[in-house]
Amino acid sequence: MSNKNSTKHLVEKQSLKKKKMLLQMKKEIEMLENELKYSKLVNLKISTVKNLKISLRFMQRITPYVLSAGIIAGGCKLIGFGLPFYSGDTLKINSNTMKEFDSLGNVRYEQQYDDYANSSNILYYYSQWQPDINGLYTRNVETYKLDELTEEEILKLFNKEDLKLSDIFGEPISKKRETKNNVTEEELQQNDCLKAIIYSEDKNNYILYKETKEENNVITAAYLALTAVVELIPFFIRRNISTFDFDDCVSEIKRKYPAVDTDELIKKLEIRRSNYNRLMR
């Protein structure tokens, strides 16, 4: 009796396994059929996800370069040069003033909408005119760098007695001996004098003008040169330190998201159905 029961049990177990096997095969066939049925939609989804991921990786690839190029272009605009590659920008030029004033009370102004070639503040010391043996007159001229002294501070210096210029400004940047024959009575009477030349920019006094193409070409060329140099930094980092490899990323994405090949699906279905049908014969 127990033998019959165990045989029955074995037969049932065997039958269950067969059903499970066929069910699994049927399930796989149905999955393939569904995949085929919705392949267009699935491919659209795969293609969207794939392209999105590739785009993100592309952005990751170019971001350091775009960022540095953008910062440099923005910097150009900020310091008043205008954007590269785009001429016709409205640019602002502030007024530059040069003021000459001396310890004798003489003052002279000059204003222009342009930079001065040499805009360092300077102090000249002129000694008294002295006659020489040739019947000419000579004097010493010493030039000192003024640094950041204001006009008021310079005027105070003019009024100081026993002023030792070298103590305040260091050694003169140049020493000259001036000689001439036609010195006026007035000049002869003059004592030593000081003359200051200072430059300043007036941001409230400016003119606007349209950038020319030639000016923009120069800006663009300078921009490209600077950008090329600066972008060597992210290039070097990417190449030698970073592990990011765009091509590898794209290959990986393409491998993970292969499009549904309907021809392949049809063939697979044919094979799986054939196997199933053989077992159902």
Binding site: Q14, K17, K18, M21, L22, Q24, M25, R255, K256, P258, K267, K268, I271, S274, N275, R278, L279, M280, R281
Partner: protein, 355 residues
């Protein structure tokens, strides 16, 4: 490794008797030769379920005749070569099984067997080699398992060679999945080192069957290159048109393995395939019909991962003359009906051998 499943050679009838008490061999007589391709669906279901619970083992003998010779090349990677070499020297003091470097492998090596014949010593030695290497190396993506079989198995008749390339070209999809062993797909460099030949062989067959080319010319024609699934570059004849002693047909397609049962199963299949090709009862019609129904539809490596049940049963019936061999073949071919999933790299199957 056990040698439970004995082949008892009956010296009077020269027939092998298989003794196996497993349920599958109660369902099907191991010594019989049933036409599995004509089995009913229900019986086939039963057979497959029972087969799934059966684990193939290393047999003491395969029952080959003694003129049949073969050689094995076991490739493996990530190997502790010095230790393997020392253990091989200890196990085989006469230096029969030689280890040598192979630059196609990743820190790997290859062990080449001496010329082997089907006897207990051969299989015991193979098992010993596998058990030496197994803890000291691994089968990785580059490892192959090449099998050389003496050309005398196919013989001097040109027709045998043409039969062989014909049957190979029609059933290559079955053969490849079988020789994947315990993997579900071809090793990644299969196309580089053991290129499938179905289309080329069929073309060769069509061109050569109508010519009066000599055997030498046939062999020259079908030896396209060395790195193909079946390499004929080692086939050499002397001036009397007799094969040299080291002349072999090399089967390069099997994936690497350190499982002696799989090696033996592969050898069994290739030898039986070659002896069938030589057989005067070679069934041209079945092979031709199969070619017509397939018509190169699946003659691409990616399709070789799939299971072609009807075709596999047909090949079994053609090549093997006993159910025992057929079950061993099918067990390794079907691999519990597992198929490689999309994007899986080099996946392994569930075990189907008993270690």
């Amino acid at each position: 490794m056990m040698f439970k499943k004995k082949i008892v050679s009956n010296s009077n009838t020269k027939k092998s008797c298989f003794l196996d008490e497993s349920p599958v061999f109660k369902f099907i007589n191991p010594n019989g030769n049933d036409k599995l391709s004509e089995m009913s669906g229900s019986d086939l279901q039963d057979l497959i379920i029972l087969m799934d619970e059966y684990y193939i083992q290393l047999r003491s003998r395969l029952g080959f005749e003694q003129y049949i010779t073969f050689g094995l090349e076991l490739e493996f990677e990530n190997a502790m070569k010095i230790r393997i070499m020392n253990q091989l020297d200890e196990a085989f003091p006469n230096g029969d099984w030689k280890i040598k470097s192979d630059h196609s492998l990743n820190n790997g090596a290859e062990i080449a067997s001496p010329i082997l014949r089907d006897n207990e010593t051969t299989w015991r030695n193979l098992d010993k080699v596998c058990s030496i290497v197994e803890p000291l190396a691994s089968i990785d993506k580059n490892s192959g398992g090449h099998i050389h079989i003496g050309t005398q198995v196919l013989g001097n008749d040109k027709k045998s060679w043409l039969n062989f390339i014909k049957i190979w070209s029609v059933y290559e999809n079955i053969i490849f999945r079988f020789v994947y062993g315990d993997f579900l797909t071809a090793r990644p460099y299969m196309l580089k080192y053991a290129e499938p030949m179905a289309k080329d062989f069929w073309q060769d067959y069509e061109n050569l069957k109508i010519t009066s080319a000599s055997l030498e010319a046939v062999i020259y024609r079908i030896s396209h290159k060395r790195n193909q699934a079946v390499n004929f570059k080692n086939v050499s004849c002397n001036i009397h048109n007799k094969f040299c002693s080291d002349s072999t047909i090399e089967f390069r397609c099997p994936n690497g393995s350190l499982n002696s049962a799989i090696w033996q199963n592969n050898v069994n299949f290739f030898v039986k395939l070659l002896t069938y090709s030589r057989n005067t009862a070679f069934n041209d019609d079945i092979v031709q019909q199969r070619h017509q129904s397939n018509l190169d539809k699946f003659a691409e490596l990616k399709w070789y991962d799939e299971i072609y049940l009807e075709q596999a049963l047909e090949l079994c019936d053609i090549v093997f003359t006993n159910n025992f061999d057929k079950i061993y073949f099918l067990r390794q071919y079907l691999k519990s009906f597992q198929v490689r999933k999309k994007n899986a790299d080099y996946p392994k199957t569930h075990a189907f051998t008993k270690i």
